[in-house]
Amino acid sequence: MGVKVIIPTPLRQYTEKSDSVVVEGRTVEEVLGNLLSQYGDLRKHLYNDDGKLRSFVNIYRNDEDIRYLDREKTALKENDVVSIVPSIAGGRDQDGLVAVDFLGRRAQ
């Protein structure tokens, strides 16, 4: 049974630029496992060293976060879509600025 996995732009460099990949699997765990057997470089972006999904990675089954379903054991059926959604944040810090190449140009 094939399930479509949506790859977000930040991770496409690890999937040979594919924006979605169809893989076999009856649970999220199986699908992600099969995805990683095709694209091993994705692993460190999805899992930490303990083999747990990173907290900054959100996995959705259709419109639902798997944290509120059965997590990685969440069951999948034909035509379900699994989306990998990265956490995105930003902000200013008063305690100094980060190393940059200092060639930043003005927009205007």
Binding site: I6, P8, T9, P10, L11, R12, Q13, D19, S55, F56, N58, Y60, D63, D65, R67, S83, V85, P86, S87, I88, A89, G90, G91, R92, D93, Q94, D95, G96, L97, V98, A99, V100, D101, F102, L103, G104, R105, R106, A107, Q108
Partner: protein, 152 residues
């Protein structure tokens, strides 16, 4: 890689930064990669979910609020990514404002940046949009590299 954005889209980001001041604004820029350069075709403003998201995975210090942090709720990412794909576009950039602070990436920005996305930062000084800069994370994640912004 050059990064092209239209004047009207720059102004949209400016307005967003002024509207949410003194809080940070945030959103995505949608577009395409064409001939080795990324072209912005649409601005997708998002509500800063730092205080409202059910699932904030970042360290939250007592002094943190939307005045110094912006967060995209994953549901908003999912929705905007879906809409972009339907229109043949991609999320190519994340923008946010730095109220009363330079348009330079912070350590927080760098530490939590994802690869590929261009991070656009708008300085807003006392409610007035000022400098806008663009950055992309280096391959090893150690620093932000400046990205030339071309206003079309």
């Amino acid at each position: 890689m050059a990064f092209e954005i239209r004047q009207q889209d720059v102004e949209r980001i400016h307005r967003h930064g002024a509207e949410t001041y003194p809080s940070e604004c945030c959103g995505f820029l949608l577009g395409r990669e064409q001939n080795g350069q990324r072209v912005v075709l649409e601005v997708a403003p998002i509500q800063n979910a730092w205080q409202s998201s059910e699932n904030n995975p970042y360290e939250i210090r007592p002094e943190d609020s939307t005045r110094n942090r912006s967060l995209v709720d994953p549901k908003d990412y999912l929705r905007i990514d879906r809409e972009a794909r339907q229109k043949g576009m991609d999320i190519i950039s994340f923008y946010h404002s730095h109220p009363d602070h330079p348009a330079r990436p912070s350590e927080f920005d760098r530490k939590h940046a994802v690869p590929f996305l261009i991070y656009v930062i708008l300085a807003v000084e006392k409610g007035v949009p000022r400098e806008m800069t663009a950055w992309v994370l280096s391959d090893d994640g150690s620093q932000f590299l400046s990205e030339p912004l071309r206003i079309a």
